[in-house]
């Protein structure tokens, strides 16, 4: 689009006085969150049968702070023998104390976990930020409170399961193997463990290799809560550990959150077995702005949609669709707003965008940025300096993006937005649904009937209308199509852990 290019050039010419660049005239004074209250041990073992034990593998790997590349701790790497030990402990607990316990008693343990997360919230949020690179504001206000709330919500279900599924007497499955990603480490652990325990199952959980610390802190909390040994086991490790867990014969349920590619492998590995499977996989969500939308709010929604958690969000609004009549205005407002984003030290309370989770992920993002440019899309990045150490990426957007472009089709999992335009409702519905994914979507318009036309026709599990990236323990989350199946959260989140 020629007009876009002109706007972009004009912008560069006037670079000297960007009206909204808050951090130029007056520098923000750093507002660093303290770390003195935080204890990170130099080495962590596996949490099996209620105790921290050395790995059979004898191996350890390092977890680093992606914001500084400094080493944080040495972490045990579980192999197949460790997985077997953990599954046996979980089976023993299922056949023993936990399996025989009443729902009301189970509930009390889960409530206890929730309360203890709240008590240790400040330590947990700092560790989450140190280990994963996310801004402290997000781990403090979103990750940790939501994790505690998730346990609190599901605790209450434990003795009420007969009310959840009419005309059924649901029963637990047994041992659940759970594998979680690095983008919301503690929150994903809560999404997995809380419903599994509420429904009477026992758990072997594997956190991601780049962000194991808060899961290990959760193991300490679980110990402190006096949960019977073996009810929750936490095994650290990488892909091989996860594969051993999926392949173990004595597991009744696999719950996985991660990439669609790995999700398909897991579905294959479980083929022909009786393992129940839920998969929460990738996404490439459309965020759709109509001309009658409240544009300033919509721009906030776009920013939150793609730059929340550095774009490491499976439901990120990574494909922006703007109605042609307001395209120029929205793009100008969006670039102005992007210019105000502060990228830097995740521990700084002013920081909007923290560190990319790992070197590997940063490489992936760079690869896609190169692909976008090669495919002929127009790139825009904010004019900022990134910290010299650590893994950072400038907020990036692409215009002139073809529907077939890889940056519009594939999940990038970083702060990279593609912008496309549309004229009619039917056209944008067609474009929004033209993806193998179907996790989430956003719609911005002031017209109620238009909202529901869109929300009913978009094939996605979560649709945010005039808002984006909102989460709640009572609200079911999960995808259509290749974004996976099963729901986490709400009453619906119980189903994946029960025989109904």
């Amino acid at each position: 689009m020629a007009t876009t290019k002109k706007t972009a050039t004009k912008k560069v010419a006037k670079k000297a006085a960007p009206s909204l660049k808050f951090n130029t005239a007056w520098e923000y004074a750093p507002a660093l969150e303290g770390t003195s209250h935080v204890t990170i041990a130099p080495q962590y073992e596996l949490f099996i049968d209620g105790k921290f034990v050395k790995p059979e593998s004898g191996k350890y790997f390092n977890t680093i702070n992606p914001a500084t590349e400094a080493n944080l701790s040495s972490i045990a790497e579980a192999n197949a023998a460790d997985v077997d030990k953990a599954v046996k402990a979980a089976r023993k607990a299922y056949n023993g104390a936990w399996g025989k316990m009443s729902g009301a008693e189970r509930a009390k343990y889960i409530f206890r976990i929730s309360r203890m997360i709240q008590e240790k919230a400040r330590e947990l949020c700092v560790i989450e930020t140190l280990d994963g690179g996310k801004p402290i504001r997000e781990s403090r206000d979103i990750d940790i409170p939501l994790a505690a709330n998730h346990f609190f919500y599901y605790a209450g279900w434990a003795d009420k399961l007969d009310y959840a599924f009419p005309n059924r007497k649901p029963t637990s499955l047994g041992v659940a193997g759970q594998i979680i990603p690095w983008n919301f480490p503690l929150l994903m652990a809560a999404w997995k463990i809380a419903p599994a325990l509420a429904t009477g199952n026992t758990v072997v959980l594997k956190p991601a290799e780049t962000t194991p610390l808060t899961a290990l802190k959760l193991a300490e909390i679980i110990q402190e809560c006096d949960l019977p040994p073996g009810v929750v086991n936490i095994l650290t490790g990488a892909g091989a550990t996860g594969a051993a867990l999926v392949q173990h014969n004595d597991i009744n349920k696999i719950a996985f959150t991660g990439s669609t590619e790995v999700g398909k492998l897991i579905q294959q590995a479980c083929a022909g077995s009786s393992k129940k499977l839920t998969l929460e996989l990738g996404g490439k969500a459309a965020n759709i702005i109509f001309e009658d939308a409240p544009l300033d709010q919509a721009v906030e929604g776009i920013i939150n949609g793609i730059f929340f958690n550095q774009g490491h969000v499976c439901c990120a609004g990574s494909r922006l669709f703007v109605q042609e009549s307001v395209y120029k205005t929205v793009l100008r407002k969006l670039k102005d707003r992007m210019a105000t984003l502060i990228v830097g030290n995740p521990l700084d309370k002013n920081t909007d965008i923290g560190a990319i989770n790992s070197k590997q992920q940063l490489d992936t993002i760079h690869k896609y940025i190169t692909i976008g440019k090669k495919e002929g899309a127009e790139m825009y990045q904010t004019d900022i300096n990134l910290p010299r150490k650590g893994f950072y990426c400038k907020p990036t957007l692409f215009t002139d993006v073809a529907q077939s472009s890889r940056i519009a089709q594939e999940e990038i999992f970083g702060p990279v937005l593609t912008v496309q335009t549309f004229r009619t409702e039917d056209e944008v519905i067609e474009k929004a649904n033209n993806t193998p994914y179907g996790l989430s979507a956003g719609v911005w318009t002031d017209k109620g009937s238009k909202i529901f036309n869109l929300t009913t026709k978009i094939r996605a599990g979560v649709v945010w209308a005039n808002t984006y990236n909102k989460f709640d323990p009572t609200s079911p989350f999960g995808g259509y199509k290749e974004s996976g199946y099963g729901r986490e959260g709400g009453l619906q989140g119980l189903a994946g852990y029960l025989h109904i």
Binding site: N149, F165, P166, N167, R168, T260, G263, K264, L265, Q267, Q268, A271, G272, L279, L281, P436, I451, T455, T456, A460, G461, V462, V463, W464, A465, N466, T467, K470, D472, T474, S475, P476, F477, G478, Y480, K481, E482, G484, Y485, R487, G490, L491, Q492, I500
Partner: protein, 296 residues
């Protein structure tokens, strides 16, 4: 009239997109009973027939899923009406395929009753399984079941009519469209049932029936990228493993009902509808002006 009048044999064909075409492959197989009677030359359907049926099912899905739930209920009820009227034909067809007279009569009656059962569910499962979620922020948040899309169904050899009806009805009650592989050894009732469907205001393409070998046709359903779910109502475990492996290419929802006895109460429930639904959750902010925020 002459008593030794020559009877008219029926040609059994496929049912695709509301039409009765022959298989594009031109192949046929001999349907026989235990006495060795030659019952019919059935279409030996091909992978290409399956693909054509999927195209029809996808085209029909848009309208069928968007149709008023009440209207879907009326159409399912209409299928039951039509089947009731042709009971005798189905009984004699089943009897010709080795079912005893008593069992055949019961199977046809159960099939009619099952259609009526699911006709009633069409506009009710949403209320049973939908939720309004009390989120902590100022948002209206609700979850509703929506159809998965195009569903491939492999039916059973035993109880050929009742299995077929029990597998199709919950899928279409929930707004899905289907491509069905019926019983190979007892196939007559499936194609006669297609005639019932065709007379019941069911839009073309909502139900498609391809006779042939499940070992050949089920993998074609499983590997097709425009099929969203696979229902394995068949007896064979071998077939399942293969289907699941092929179905992972686009993460199909795969449900297996080997253990279900369709003749019992266990054979009908709204949970069969739910197995082929997705949950959609919608959020919308609630205005928060001039005091306390409203909540649901």
């Amino acid at each position: 009239m002459s008593t030794n009048r020559l009877s008219i044999l029926k040609t059994y064909k496929l049912y695709i997109g509301g039409q009765f075409p022959r298989t594009e492959s031109g192949r046929s197989y001999k349907a026989t009973n235990s006495k060795g009677d030659h019952l019919a030359n059935m279409c030996w359907g091909s992978k290409k027939d399956v693909r054509d049926a999927i195209v029809s099912a996808r085209a029909a899905w848009k309208g069928w899923s968007a149709r008023a739930a009440f209207n879907r209920g009326q159409i399912l009820y209409r299928i039951a009406e039509m089947l009731e009227g042709r009971s005798e034909q189905f009984v004699s067809e089943l009897v010709s395929m080795d079912v005893t007279a008593q069992d055949a009569k019961e199977e046809v009656q159960d099939s009619i009753d099952r259609l009526v059962y699911y006709a009633g569910w069409c506009d009710k499962y949403q209320q049973v399984f939908g939720t309004v979620n009390p989120v902590a922020s100022s948002h209206f948040n609700f979850s509703v079941p929506e159809s998965t899309g195009v569903v491939g169904i492999v039916s059973k050899e035993a109880s050929p009519l009742l299995s077929l009806v029990s597998l199709i009805a919950p899928a279409i009650a929930g707004g899905n469209t289907v491509v069905v592989i019926p019983s190979y050894s007892k196939p007559l009732a499936a194609i006669s049932f297609a005639e019932v469907i065709n007379d019941s205001d069911v839009p073309g393409g909502v139900i498609n029936i391809i006779t042939g070998k499940a070992t050949e046709l089920a993998p074609a359903l499983a590997e097709h990228m425009d099929v969203n779910a696979l229902v394995l109502g068949n007896e064979s475990d071998e077939l399942d493993k293969d289907a699941i492996l092929k179905g992972t290419h686009n993460l199909k929802r795969i449900v297996a009902y080997h253990e279900i006895n369709w003749k019992t109460e266990q054979g009908q429930s709204p949970y069969f509808i739910l197995d082929l639904q997705e949950t959609k959750t919608t959020w919308h902010p609630i205005e928060n002006i001039g005091g306390a925020g409203a909540k649901y």
